[in-house]
C-alpha cells in the first residue's frame, strides 16, 4: 500500500511535514467532424513532500514511487526550505487544526469505473452528428467528454491520514460556422463532480445544440458596439464574475498583498442584493472536496452578505496570520504543486426576477451570453469575453450580435446590480493562478452596467 510506504518515510522527518499521494486516472474521447480524434486513457501518479523548516517551506515531488525516491523528496524539500530561509522575511506559522483520519468518496449513482467505454464513445459520436446536422453553415465541430478520477492521500507528521476519491465527469462542444467569407465559433460545456449520471441531468447533446445554434446564428451577425451599457449578464457569466472579479480579491494571500477587499471586512462592497459565497461542500460542485490539500475540512464561506464583506478565504498559514480559523481553501492541482489558496464553488445567491422582468426597464442595452475566458487584477479590475450580445430595446429582446470583451471594476459592477434573476445555475470552470484547478461557478442572470469593448 502506498500510504504505508509514505508513513514509513514520514517517521524520519523532523519538524512539520506533509506527504501527499495523487493518482489521476483520465479518460477522454473527442470526436472532430465525425471522426474519432482522441481516444485516450491513462494514469499519472506521484507523491510530494512539503516540509516546514524553521518557518520556511520546501517542496519536492516525484513520479517514482519507491522508498529511496520518497526519502529523496523529503530530503530535497528539507534542504530547499533551509536554503531559502535567509531570503524570507516572514516565518510561516500554521493555524492549528485537529488532525483528521477519514475517508471520502464523491457520491455517485453511476461509477464510471463500472461502465464500459463503448457507450461513451457512441454518445459522443451521436452528439457530433446532431451538431453537424443542425445547419448547413456548420463546417466543423469538436465534441469531447472526459472522466477524471482522482485518488488522493494526505499524511502529516501531526498524524492526519485522509484518503479521498474525487470523480469529475465533464464535456464540451466547439462549433464553427462559415458563411460568405465570415466565420464564427461557439462553445458550451457541461459537467459536475459526480458519476456518469451527470449526462442524464445535463445532456451533452443539449450543450451541442446550444453551441450549434449560436455559431450558426452569429456567423452573419455584426459585432456588438463599444461603450458603457445597461446589461443583463447571463447566469453562466455571473458565475465567472463571482469567481474572477470578486472571489480572487477575497483570497487571503492576495488580501495580504493589498487586494481591493483588504480593509473592507464589515464594510459595504456591493449592492445589498448581492450575497456571494465560496462553498467547499456544494453538492456535485466541480471544486468540492471534503478536505483541502492541507487536511483541513472544507466549509461554506460567506464572502459578501447582502453587500457587506464578511470573510476571506484562508489556508492554515494565512488563517494564523489573520487570527481566524482556516476555511479549507488550500488546494493543489496535483502532486507537482504545493497547495495555495483557491476558490472551490463560488456563486452569487439567486433572486426572483424572470429574464423578461430583468429586461423591462432597459431602454437600450444588451443581454450578454456565453462566457469565455477571463482575468482579473486584485484591485477588482477584470475582463472577460462573451460570445453573444442580444440587443435590448425598450425593454424587449431584439437581434443577436457577436459578443465582445467586457471589463470594469467588479465592485462598481456589483454596486450597480439592481435585480437578480431566478435562473440559477452552477457550472464547471478551470481557474489559473500559477497552477490551474477545477472550480465551480454559479449564479443567476442579473442586471447591471458594464463597459463593452466592441469594434464599432
Amino acid at each position: 500500500m502506498i500510504t504505508d510506504l509514505l508513513k514509513g518515510s514520514l517517521k524520519k522527518s523532523r519538524g512539520y511535514c506533509e506527504l501527499r499521494y495523487h493518482k489521476r486516472d483520465t479518460f477522454t474521447v473527442s470526436v472532430k467532424d465525425g471522426k474519432i480524434d482522441i481516444l485516450n486513457s491513462g494514469i499519472i501518479e506521484g507523491a510530494c513532500a512539503r516540509v516546514l523548516v524553521n518557518g520556511s517551506w520546501g517542496f519536492s515531488s516525484t513520479t517514482m514511487l519507491e522508498k529511496g525516491k520518497i526519502n529523496k523528496i523529503l530530503k530535497d524539500a528539507d534542504s530547499l526550505g533551509k536554503a531559502s530561509k535567509p531570503k524570507k522575511k516572514r516565518a510561516v506559522k500554521l493555524a492549528s487544526v485537529k488532525p483528521r483520519v477519514d475517508k471520502y468518496e464523491t457520491p455517485m449513482k453511476i461509477d464510471p469505473r463500472k461502465r464500459g467505454r463503448e457507450e461513451l464513445v457512441s454518445l459522443v459520436i451521436d452528439v457530433d452528428k446532431d451538431v453537424r446536422g443542425f445547419s448547413k453553415n456548420i463546417v466543423s465541430d469538436t465534441v469531447t467528454f472526459n472522466i477524471v478520477d482522482d485518488e488522493l492521500a494526505f499524511l502529516s507528521s501531526e498524524d492526519a491520514e485522509i484518503s479521498q476519491r474525487i470523480v469529475r465527469c465533464f464535456g464540451n462542444v466547439m462549433v464553427i460556422a462559415r458563411e460568405k467569407g465570415n466565420i464564427a465559433s461557439a462553445y458550451e460545456s457541461i459537467g459536475a463532480q459526480s458519476g456518469l449520471e451527470v449526462l442524464e441531468k445535463t445532456p451533452l447533446g443539449n450543450a451541442g445544440i446550444t453551441a450549434a445554434e449560436r455559431a450558426s446564428k452569429l456567423v452573419s451577425a455584426e459585432v456588438a458596439p463599444a461603450g458603457l451599457f445597461h446589461v443583463i449578464l447571463e447566469n453562466r457569466i455571473v458565475g465567472l464574475l463571482a469567481h474572477e472579479a470578486v472571489g480572487h480579491c477575497s483570497e487571503a494571500d492576495l488580501v495580504y498583498g493589498g487586494s481591493f477587499l483588504a480593509d473592507k471586512i464589515g464594510k459595504g462592497v456591493a449592492s445589498e442584493k448581492v450575497t456571494l459565497v465560496d462553498d467547499g461542500r456544494y453538492p456535485s460542485g466541480f471544486g468540492m472536496m471534503k478536505y483541502d490539500d492541507e487536511g483541513v475540512p472544507t466549509q461554506k464561506t460567506v464572502i459578501i452578505e447582502k453587500g457587506i464583506c464578511r470573510s476571506f478565504l484562508h489556508s492554515r498559514e494565512t488563517a494564523q496570520h489573520f487570527g481566524v480559523s482556516p476555511t479549507g481553501n488550500a488546494r493543489a492541482w496535483n502532486f507537482e504543486f504545493d497547495p495555495i489558496i483557491r476558490m472551490r464553488n463560488t456563486y452569487i445567491e439567486t433572486g426572483d426576477y424572470s429574464l423578461e422582468e430583468l429586461a423591462e426597464n432597459i431602454k437600450e442595452g444588451f443581454f450578454l451570453k456565453g462566457g469565455l475566458g477571463g482575468q482579473a487584477d486584485f484591485n477588482g479590475e477584470f475582463m472577460f469575453g462573451t460570445q453573444e450580445a442580444i440587443k435590448i430595446k425598450n425593454g424587449k429582446f431584439a437581434e443577436s450580435l457577436r459578443g465582445v470583451t467586457i471589463s470594469g471594476n467588479a465592485f462598481e459592477v456589483l454596486k450597480n446590480v439592481d435585480a437578480i434573476g431566478k435562473d440559477y445555475v452552477m457550472r464547471v470552470g478551470m481557474c489559473g493562478k500559477e497552477q490551474i484547478n477545477y472550480v465551480g461557478m454559479g449564479g443567476a442572470s442579473l442586471r447591471t452596467k458594464m463597459l463593452m469593448g466592441g469594434t464599432k
Binding site: 467532424d33 481516444l39 530547499l80 536554503a83 466543423s140 459585432v223 469575453g385 469593448g453
Partner: protein, 448 residues
C-alpha cells in the same frame, strides 16, 4: 534502462498485442522552480517526472494510453490497454500511416547547456533573487506582486514500428516578474516582464527585474483619453497575443482542412501587408522550440509561412500531411507524454524590420503604445477586444502619459493588412514565437 530502451520495449508489446502500427514517446523532466508572491519567496519546488505515451493503430482504429510509471509490467499493461481502446474505436478513413524514417539533421546549436542542467535549488533561488533585488533596488515605489523562475532539463525519446527512432536532451530557463508601483495611495496596474533562454549565459534576471519595475513606474498617474480610431504600437508580447495567435491558428493544416481557417485554400494569396514575413524554423539556433525532430520523430526544418504578405503554406504533422499526400513539415506537437500529437509552431520567427521601438514611437502623430494585452482573441475570426495594460498615449512622436482603463478592439486579419511598421528588436514569447513590436492602424481605442 535508457529512454529508448523503454520505447523499444513498448513497441515489442504492441506488436504482441496485434497492432498494425505503434508509436512510443517517453519523456523525462526535471524541473526546479522558485515562486515569488507578495514580494516574498512563496515556494521552491524540485520536480522529477517521467512517463510514456503509446499510440496504437489497428484497422485504421486508434487507441492512446499513457502512464507515469516506467516499468516492464506497467508498459506491458499500457500496451494491452491501448489495444483494447483501439478495439472500441471506429475506423478513421483518413488514417494513412505513422511517419517513416528519415535522416535527422544535426542537433541545432545551443539547445542544451551543461551549466543549466547542473543547477540545483540554491542556484535557481539565486536567479530569482537577482531579479528581485534589481526590481526592489530600482525605485522605492516598486513592489513585486509575483513571479516565477524555472529551469527545465528535458529528455525525450520516440520510436515507431516503421523504424523511426530519435532521442534528444534540452535545457530551458524561464522567468517572469509582475511589479506594481505605489505612490500616495495609488497603485499602478500590474507590469509583467519575462525572459526565456536555453542557456544560463543568455538569461538575464536583472533585465526582467529592471524592465518590470520601469513598466510599473511608467503606468503611475494614468489619465483617460477620448475614444478614437487610430494607431496602436503593440510591443512584442501583445503583438504575439493579438496578431500572431490567430496566424498560428490559421496556418495550422488541421484547421485549414476542417474549414476552421479563413486562409483555407488561399495559398499564394496576399493575406497581410508586404512588410510581414514569417518563417517556422525548428532548427533556429538557441531557439526555445528547437530540436532536431518534432514529437513524431520527423526531422525539423525551416518552413516559410508568409513571405512579403503572401501566404506560403500550412504547418503539418504526419496525419494532416498524409491526408493531402504531402510531406510533414515537422510540426507535430505534444504538451506532454500524456497527449496525442497535434500541430503547433516550432519557433515562429517574424522577420524584424529596421526601426527601434523609440523610433517607431517618434513617427506616430497620434496613437497609443500597448505593452500588455488582457483580453480575448477569437482565433478563427481574428476578432480581438480587451484591456490595454501599461498603455501610454502618444502625440507628435512622444509618449505623453499612461492610460487609464482603455480597451482596444479590432480584427487581427484586418490589422495585419494595416501594418505600418515592424520593429527591429525581436523577443521570444510564450507562444514560441519570436516577435518584434508592430505598429498597426485603424484600431478602436475605447475609454469610459
Amino acid at each position: 534502462m535508457s529512454l529508448t530502451d523503454f520505447t523499444r520495449l513498448a513497441l515489442k508489446h504492441c506488436e504482441k498485442a496485434g497492432a498494425d502500427e505503434a508509436e512510443a514517446f517517453v519523456q523525462s523532466q526535471q524541473t526546479i522552480e522558485v515562486v515569488l508572491e507578495r514580494a516574498e519567496i512563496q515556494s521552491e519546488r524540485i520536480k522529477t517526472q517521467r512517463g510514456i505515451g503509446i499510440r496504437i493503430i489497428k484497422d485504421k482504429k486508434l487507441g492512446f494510453v499513457f502512464s507515469s510509471t516506467l516499468s516492464r509490467s506497467t508498459i506491458e499493461e499500457a500496451c494491452r490497454n491501448a489495444q483494447s481502446l483501439a478495439n472500441v474505436s471506429i475506423p478513421n478513413p483518413d488514417w494513412v500511416s505513422l511517419p517513416t524514417p528519415a535522416k535527422l539533421p544535426k542537433s541545432p546549436s545551443g539547445i542544451y547547456d551543461e551549466e543549466t542542467a547542473n543547477m540545483g535549488g540554491n542556484e535557481v533561488l539565486k536567479l530569482a533573487m537577482r531579479a528581485y533585488d534589481e526590481a526592489k533596488g530600482y525605485d522605492k515605489r516598486v513592489d513585486i506582486d509575483d513571479g516565477k523562475f524555472s529551469i527545465f532539463l528535458n529528455e525525450v525519446a520516440i520510436s515507431n514500428s516503421h523504424g523511426v527512432e530519435a532521442e534528444e536532451k534540452t535545457t530551458l530557463l524561464q522567468g517572469y516578474i509582475i511589479c506594481v508601483a505605489k505612490e500616495y495611495g495609488e497603485i499602478s496596474s500590474m507590469a509583467f516582464e519575462y525572459d526565456v533562454a536555453r542557456s544560463l549565459k543568455e538569461f538575464s534576471p536583472e533585465k526582467i527585474g529592471r524592465l518590470s519595475a520601469e513598466k510599473a513606474l511608467a503606468s503611475l498617474k494614468p489619465k483617460a483619453v477620448k475614444s478614437f480610431v487610430g494607431k496602436v504600437i503593440l510591443d512584442s508580447d501583445p503583438a504575439a497575443t493579438v496578431l500572431i495567435q490567430p496566424i498560428i491558428s490559421s496556418v495550422n493544416a488541421d484547421n485549414a482542412q476542417r474549414g476552421r481557417s479563413l486562409w483555407a485554400g488561399k495559398r499564394g494569396e496576399e493575406v497581410a501587408s508586404k512588410r510581414l514575413t514569417i518563417t517556422d524554423d525548428g532548427l533556429f539556433p538557441k531557439g526555445i522550440g528547437s530540436s532536431s525532430f518534432d514529437f513524431e520523430g520527423v526531422p525539423h526544418q525551416k518552413t516559410p509561412v508568409i513571405t512579403g504578405g503572401k501566404l506560403e503554406g500550412f504547418l503539418h504533422n504526419s496525419f494532416t500531411a498524409n491526408k493531402e499526400d504531402k510531406k510533414s513539415t515537422g510540426n507535430a506537437h505534444r504538451d506532454g507524454y500524456n497527449m496525442l500529437p497535434s500541430i503547433f509552431v516550432s519557433n515562429l520567427v517574424v522577420a524584424a524590420g529596421k526601426k527601434k521601438l523609440e523610433d517607431i514611437i517618434s513617427g506616430v502623430d497620434k496613437g497609443i503604445v500597448v505593452r500588455r494585452f488582457s483580453g480575448n482573441v477569437r482565433l478563427e475570426s481574428g476578432e480581438f477586444s480587451g484591456i490595454a495594460k501599461q498603455a501610454s498615449y502618444v502625440e507628435k512622436g512622444e509618449i505623453k502619459y499612461p492610460l487609464k482603463e482603455t480597451m482596444i478592439s479590432g480584427n487581427a486579419f484586418q490589422a495585419i493588412k494595416n501594418i505600418i511598421e515592424i520593429g527591429s528588436e525581436t523577443h521570444p514569447t510564450f507562444l514560441k514565437a519570436y516577435v518584434p513590436p508592430i505598429l498597426i492602424d485603424k484600431v478602436n481605442i475605447v475609454s469610459k
